[in-house]
């Protein structure tokens, strides 16, 4: 049964953003993140927000999907907002209940910090939404290549990353099936204290891990049979930076530094 698109999964498309070299997307996101954390106030934040919003528009990924990426950090957002908005016995309070008060500076700083997380998450999930797993692995291994100078096993790490991406959906399906099967045997996952709940997952986790190890074994044998040694591999895909890739890269990096320094 096909399961609806979960957070961050690749949504195939042919927009300018989809065609952009994944390395550029990763570096650009990184640069914008630096800018995001260096800006001193609202103007800078709004410029970065505008850049991310423009990128989402360009990607033609629906806003709904993009916003789904925020779900995992919803609590963090609320927490940030609440912690900063409410203060204790503020003399310039806007509203006051007993000792708890809301002030304009508090409200502003809460919103500022929350928005920063929103922009960061939207930007990061946009990368995974518009880049295929293959493009992501290739980009990462290419970006890591300089590390091979210090004997970092770039190829092996890229292969591990690719295999992990390959098996996430398969393992998720398997986990769901085991949960259903154990539920049908009377297992209950949502009763009792934390310890009881943790214990309840044992009948799911053990089979899942046993399967994962067997899978890993099978996979190792299959890879060995296909002559994998981790050495002297060639690549099907060639990463070539087109002029537009260089332009986007230069543009976002310049923008990020300008924002970080000036605003």
């Amino acid at each position: 049964m096909s399961v609806p698109v979960p957070f961050g999964q690749f949504v195939p498309g042919d927009s300018a953003l989809h065609r952009l070299d994944a390395r550029v997307k990763i570096v650009a996101t990184f640069a914008l993140t630096i800018a995001l954390f260096s800006v001193g106030g609202w103007p800078g934040l709004l410029v970065v927000a505008g850049a991310v919003a423009a990128a989402i528009g360009l990607s033609r990924v629906s806003w709904r999907l993009a916003v789904r990426g925020l779900r995992p950090v919803l609590w963090l957002l609320l927490f940030t907002l609440v912690v900063h908005t409410f203060s204790w016995r503020d003399p310039d309070a806007l509203v006051q209940w007993g000792p708890v008060s809301i002030s304009i500076p508090g409200l502003s700083s809460g919103a500022f910090l929350a928005l920063r997380i929103v922009i960061l998450m939207l930007g990061a999930s946009l990368v995974t939404l518009t880049s295929s797993p293959v493009a992501l692995t290739d980009a990462l291994s290419s970006l890591m290549r300089p590390l091979s100078v210090v004997r970092f096993p770039v190829e092996d790490v890229a292969m591990m990353f690719s295999i992990a991406l390959r098996f996430i959906p398969t393992t998720a399906e398997e986990a769901e099936r085991i949960v259903v099967a154990q539920t049908a045997r009377g297992a209950v996952f949502d009763r009792g204290g934390p310890a009881a709940r943790a214990r309840a997952w044992i009948p799911v986790l053990i089979p899942l891990f046993v399967r994962l190890f067997r899978r890993a074994d099978d996979l190792a044998v299959a890879m060995e049979s296909r002559c994998y040694t981790g050495k002297e591999r060639s690549r099907l895909r060639e990463l070539v930076m087109r002029p537009e890739d260089w332009m986007v890269l230069a543009g976002t990096v310049t923008l990020s530094f300008a924002v970080a320094i000036l605003l």
Binding site: S162, L165, R166, D218, L219, A222, T229, S234, R235, L236
Partner: protein, 293 residues
């Protein structure tokens, strides 16, 4: 001829120099034991056989008969405890020969999910050629040809987990074919597939065999074995039958003890024979069987 030592190198060195290189897979008095704790469990013993290029062979047997071990001995995933396995006169015990051997012998396993490594169809097919360090242009050609051979052209960018079971297994076969192997060896490639997926895979195998590669397919399904020219039956680690699959149907009484069952269609043919209808032993399709009436 018995090889007195468990040292595979010894077995390798005994012959070879005097012989000219011949294209074939040969098992010479091969035994293999799994070591479980202190005791050894023999999985295969005393197997001698030859498989020549272009042959289509079915290996039959129940679970635990040693047929999966046999497959893993062919490309050196397992090394014989005694005896020797040679591929085109290269010995699997010779570490340096394993690369060339695995280039010539491609393996496909039972569970398609556990042998697909990449996150897109074409990248998975390219995995083997990439490991050989082939130039990019050549990889492209091989990927395109392999995908065409298994009927997956057009799905190059698809993510493997979105494929059907039959498609996944055909992808695995494409990955094997992209190595341009002389021998394609498959360990129960259809046993986890639905009937449609099974038919897809069998059709692909028929074409691969027709293209001149040797196809050796492990199965426990007699009706699949009927498509092969030669059937081997493994029972308790030994080869107990080696011949035409139709000849196997002439020995129905022995199938039970070997852990093999006649599929309903062949059982029906057997009923007809018992009733006095002369159904030929190589009749394997409904039309052929009913046609005998």
């Amino acid at each position: 001829m018995r090889v007195p030592s468990g040292d595979p190198h010894f077995a390798c060195d005994r012959r070879s120099a005097s012989r000219e290189v011949r294209a074939l897979i040969s098992f010479e008095n091969v035994s293999f034991s799994y070591v479980a704790g202190a005791q050894q469990q023999p999985a295969v013993h005393g197997v001698s056989l030859e498989i020549v290029p272009g042959e289509r062979v079915a290996v039959l047997g129940s679970n635990g008969s040693g047929k999966s071990t046999l497959v893993r001995l062919i490309n050196g995933l397992l090394l014989p405890t005694t005896g020797s396995v040679r591929v085109d006169d290269m010995c699997t015990a010779d570490q340096a020969a394993l690369g060339p051997i695995r280039e010539r012998v491609s393996l496909v396993f039972q569970n398609p999910d556990n042998q697909i490594v990449a996150t897109a169809v074409e990248d998975d097919v390219a995995f083997g050629p990439e490991n050989l360090g082939l130039p990019r242009a050549q990889i492209r050609v091989r990927v395109a040809e392999a995908l065409k051979a298994v009927g997956l052209s057009g799905l190059e960018r698809r993510e493997p987990h979105l494929l059907s079971g039959g498609q996944k297994q055909r992808l695995a076969i494409a990955g094997a074919l992209a190595m341009d192997p002389r021998y394609l060896v498959l360990d129960e490639p259809t046993s986890m597939l639905d009937p449609l997926g099974r038919l897809e895979v069998l059709a692909v195998l028929a074409e691969v065999a027709a293209s001149g590669r040797a196809v050796l397919q492990v199965t426990h399904d007699l009706s699949e074995a009927m498509q092969a020219a030669r059937a081997l039956v493994m029972h308790q680690g030994a080869v107990v039958f080696d011949g035409a699959p139709s000849a196997l149907l002439g020995r129905v009484g022995e199938l039970g003890p070997w852990g093999l069952e006649l599929p309903p269609l062949l059982q029906f043919a057997e009923e007809l024979r018992r009733a006095g209808v002369a159904v030929p032993h190589d009749a394997a399709t409904p039309a052929q069987i009913a046609g005998a009436l």
